[in-house]
Symmetry: D2
Subunit: 265 residues, 4 copies
């Protein structure tokens, strides 16, 4: 299916401020970017680099005053996410090197504290995909989903105690449990078609059998229509924008996702 998605951010900036942006989805196995716009107003010099996770990041200094960032993409992505009930766990010694960093605890996923809980949740599940399904079910049943993205970020431990959270929090808890079982898990920020209310979304992927699979604890039926914008160990690695120095004002953030028949030629 073809989607058109856009993010429009407007800022009021008191003093020139370094920004680091992750707003450029990449073409990968799951999605193909046919058209893309990335417009800065006013136009300022920006430099792009690739981070450890493979994200294309942009660095710039936002000038004082009104500043806006407009990005949009035409993307072909899957109508439905692959699922693989029964897909087997990979022994750590067989995992590709590049998946290993996703086994360790990280800022918001204190997997070192979830061994018992993860074992308990997945008792009786086949090792691998079914463990992840059990984790997602558990989260959906015990953590109340409260849509939105803008709040202070809390960690898996804190989400578990709070009993409610946004998509990001539920992803953190899922990741922490997977890693506690030696299943590599990573955090994804992206667009999701049909999200209500429309906003950026977060979910996670787990490495099972021989590839990454999508999991989303905010949904009882895993929906397709996803566009991954950036990957990381958790939200500490993946902010669509990071600012340094004195605070800046985000006046508005407008996210849109719609179906299209295909890219214009």
């Amino acid at each position: 299916m073809w989607l058109h998605a856009s993010a429009h951010l407007e800022f009021q900036i008191p003093v020139p401020t370094p920004l680091l942006l992750m707003l450029r989805p990449r073409s990968g196995g799951q999605q193909w970017i046919a058209r893309e716009a990335y417009v800065l107003s006013p136009s300022v010099p920006a430099i792009e680099f690739t981070d450890w996770f493979g994200n294309l990041c942009q660095r710039l200094v936002a000038p004082a005053g009104y500043f806006s960032i407009h990005t949009s993409v035409d993307v072909e992505t899957a109508e439905a996410c692959d699922a693989a009930p029964g897909a087997p766990f990979i022994e750590v010694q067989q995992l590709p090197d590049e998946t290993l960093p996703y086994l360790y605890p990280s800022r918001y996923c204190e997997s070192d504290r979830f061994s018992e809980m993860a074992a308990s949740i997945t008792a009786g599940s086949l090792c691998g995909y079914d463990q992840c399904s059990a984790i997602v079910d558990y989260i959906r049943n015990t953590v109340q989903y409260t849509p939105g993205m803008g709040q202070q970020i809390i960690s898996a431990t804190e989400v578990n105690q709070a009993g409610h959270g946004v998509c990001r929090d539920m992803a953190h808890l899922g990741i922490a449990c997977c890693r506690a079982l030696s299943i590599p898990a990573r955090f994804v920020v992206g667009y999701l078609e049909g999200l209500q209310p429309m906003d950026l979304h977060a979910w996670f992927e787990a490495y099972i059998s021989n590839r990454w699979y999508t999991f989303d604890a905010t949904q009882s039926n895993l929906q397709g229509g996803r566009i991954a914008i950036a990957f990381g160990r958790d939200a500490a690695d993946v902010a669509i924008y990071t600012q340094f120095g004195d605070p800046i004002d985000l006046l508005s953030m407008d996210i849109r996702v719609g179906r299209m028949t295909g890219p214009a030629n």
Copy 2:
């Protein structure tokens, strides 16, 4: 200055054929991509990866029949290329690690055979930028520039013997001479505004003082308005498309570059 550039390639393909493409300019210190399109007709799955040189490469299997690739970019790039007469040579022990591969001989730049010639051409020049300028002057004076890109690729040694060549050949000769003097030099394929007749262009960059500088032996006055598409050690690393298996027919390749006032918001 803002440029709109596009490449439109049309193929007739006898049997499904793996293609490797380098047609996606990246935002870097010298250019900022504000809009981009990359449309495959018919639409087929494609995967993108980053090669050793930092190029974004796309892999796909082109289906049998008519197949077209249309890419376009809106880019902000410099009106004039930086020049730095007198900029000093960097001792090899001071060069950044990542420039070292550009010191070695490569397929079409047999720098191991150009030590004497390079020393002779640059006799009396200050080490560094002025050596590169002397090399470019020498090439422009001894190799007749014959526009076009489609011919069989020949090496620096062969260009030097032939006494004429396309932009790519002149770049190879320049690179071979620079490397023979321990100056890192790399090959660039890109767009050049105002090129007559319009086509893709090739030039080279040399690492002097603490950055890469642009050199172009096809011009007496170095022009700006460049959009780098891909970098490599020579043309063996940088083909806008590489096909594997039985030959395919390139029906047409249409390259356009024009000025624009700025990206639409």
Copy 3:
């Protein structure tokens, strides 16, 4: 100065267990490895890879029963660590790309919670090296140093509350404060000559001016004689060994560091 250092680890292993090791110091700007041993008993196949941080990591499956790892190095390292009072802070937009990951919060360094504390500690200090010095002084004065490495790892927030900690904990707190000031800071595990009692040691480095500088909150006078074994964002990235699956018994860990006149020829 030349040092001979060794780590000897003995395990009792109930079932074959995947291990990931970081026990191989690399030759870098600060140290040169002239001799090295890395002996596994019994000898088992091992594979080496380089992680994101540049560490050489070894993967193997330890067999059931008694298993030992013996590593040793002859290293030339600096008698004294470089200090640079007054060295200036680098604006974020000037930082090299590869230092940026060391600005973000991580598992044990919740820098997002230390902005006020770091600002308060460094009030009146010149931005840059002197801020780091003030942070180290603060930690040494408020956190009681309790040698040892084996305990449960606690985070910077927890160290700050506890008021005492091991070298690793003090490094985590220092890193969290530096990052809160937009100074990249990374965690180092290594050998330190003369440490009492002898053990592995941990400290941190901060990126100031145009390089990494060493800081160690366990010492009033920064001592040289250091051999870095591995780098990371915090202890979650850098464990000299990580085991997966059922617990294994570390029977003994013997660390030795001594001066030598130079490597045998």
Copy 4:
């Protein structure tokens, strides 16, 4: 099997000279380095980095006068190289990204000129391993092997015309033919137990089925006892030492390889 191998190089150096060294074998799937020495006399600062091919490279400035480099390793390596007659060719679209650079022509392997010859040599062979075997047989039957490594490097085209060559030349010819068939092939420099006369050796690897296999056109029966020191596209990427500036005198190079029962504990 366990081998002890050493390389001892002695130089007379007129003026301080930058050197780039590749003399440090790495632990990988095929070999495990248990002990290693790397001694410079006189001792000078050296910095190590990892190149595109994964080789650990050392940079230093050799001082004027007598200068020696002594490296040695205790290595566990395979008694016999794996062979896989019948192992299938991998379609280009299935090849891992990191093997693609080994498909292109390079300085000494002008694979773009070997399509017809490679097709002719391998006519009737199963695609994949058997094609490589046919290439190796052809080379052994048509190119006379003349041991030694010190001569001027010639390219695959030149080797093919000359009809005789050293191990390096035969590897270049093999690589050129493999790449002409879209089989990734890379150049290896290393130690070989039992080589007569003892010297460094060169061979090549081809990517077939799902891994790299060893080929050596200097031997009718592929022998084990190999220690890979460095990998590259051809000899232009892999010199055990590269010097920049005025020539230096290599007074002697002493290579030794012997069996041992195992590493001392």
